[in-house]
């Protein structure tokens, strides 16, 4: 299964990003072959609808599941339409590698409803921009 994990950076040692739409990178891991690929989230700086744009990007990459912290309502609707499974609850204190191990052990549950509210837009977040 091609699993997409929201990430702070490009490789397996990067930290998990807890937001979906405005996550800087997506690391896509094939859970059988462990083949990885990272893509930049070009929807990250959208004025509106970053979650929907991000869902479009990972759907185009052929992701079958998503692991992240929280998914908002619009992104969730888009992901469901593309038949992408949503796993929430990943922590930014874990690296992609650790999150992947936890995922394989069944640590994360599949979400049936979006746990996050609508996104806060391109807001200022602690000088990271």
């Amino acid at each position: 299964m091609k699993l997409c994990i929201t990430s702070d950076g490009k490789d397996l040692d990067s930290s998990v990003e807890e937001t979906f739409g405005r996550s800087p990178y997506f690391v896509i891991v094939d859970t059988e072959t462990l083949e990885t690929k990272s893509i930049r989230n070009t929807a990250m700086r959208s004025g509106h609808g970053a979650g929907i744009g991000a869902a479009q990007i990972i759907s185009d990459e052929g992701a079958e599941a998503l692991l992240t912290g929280i998914v908002g309502p619009n992104a969730f609707t888009a992901l469901k339409a593309a038949h992408i499974k949503v796993f929430e609850g990943a922590s930014e204190f874990d690296s992609i590698k650790v999150a992947l191990e936890k995922f394989k052990k069944g640590f994360y549950k599949e979400a049936t409803v979006p746990s996050g509210g609508p996104g806060g837009g391109r807001r200022f977040r602690g000088g990271r921009w």
Binding site: A43, S46, G47, H48, G49, A50, G51, I52, G53, A55, Q56, S59, N74, T77, A78, A81, A82, H83
Partner: protein, 187 residues
């Protein structure tokens, strides 16, 4: 800084307008500083002096000039925007509508037909860009304009629907109604 050329053009534009119907604009970025109070009082004073006045309340998020004047809003007209509906029969899945949407409101699952998920503001770019003419229009009500009359005072009011973001659409509709329906402007 306004450059000299632009300043000249603004002045020229001002002088092209007839000055027999003065327009007084009252605005300000801060809330609660007295914009409505001043507007309503100028309008009331002028109409009491015998002038015909068209007062326009373009504060569409919270119009309250009619409350201060004790006027009931009359003659409502709907303000609508067009949101896309995609004809699955005509759509070839080229995704131009999804790419052109600056609000990422459209999403295309796999090779399927795009669906409207996000907040469409009715810009109609998707409808213009579709090469197959597959993006149809569906009306969505975003606000109302009103025209109320008391003696020599004509009050134009715009009101945005709760939760709607299209304040500029309501303001534009209000301006068009003012220019089209106001007897003062047409003389």
């Amino acid at each position: 800084m306004v450059d000299a050329g632009l300043k000249g053009r603004i002045l020229a534009a001002l002088h092209r307008k007839p000055l027999d119907i003065p327009i007084i604009a009252i605005t300000g970025g801060k809330g609660g500083v007295g914009k409505s109070t001043i507007s309503v009082n100028i309008a009331a004073a002028l109409s009491e002096m015998g002038y015909r006045v068209a007062l326009t309340d373009a504060d569409v998020d919270a119009p309250d000039d009619h409350i201060m004047l004790g006027i009931t809003l009359e003659k409502p007209l709907d303000v609508t925007v067009n949101v896309p509906t995609i004809d699955a029969g005509k759509c070839t899945g080229c995704r131009r509508c999804v790419d052109v949407c600056r609000r990422n409101a459209l999403f295309q699952p796999g090779d399927g037909v795009p669906i409207l998920i996000g907040d469409c503001n009715g810009c109609e770019a998707c409808m213009l860009d579709c090469p197959e003419d597959a993006v149809g229009k569906e009306r969505r009500r975003v606000g109302e304009t009103y025209m109320s009359e008391r003696d020599r005072l004509l009050l134009f009011t715009g009101r945005l629907m709760p939760g709607a973001e299209e304040s500029s659409m309501v303001v534009n509709a209000l301006r068009n109604r003012l220019h089209g329906g106001c007897r003062l402007c047409r003389n």
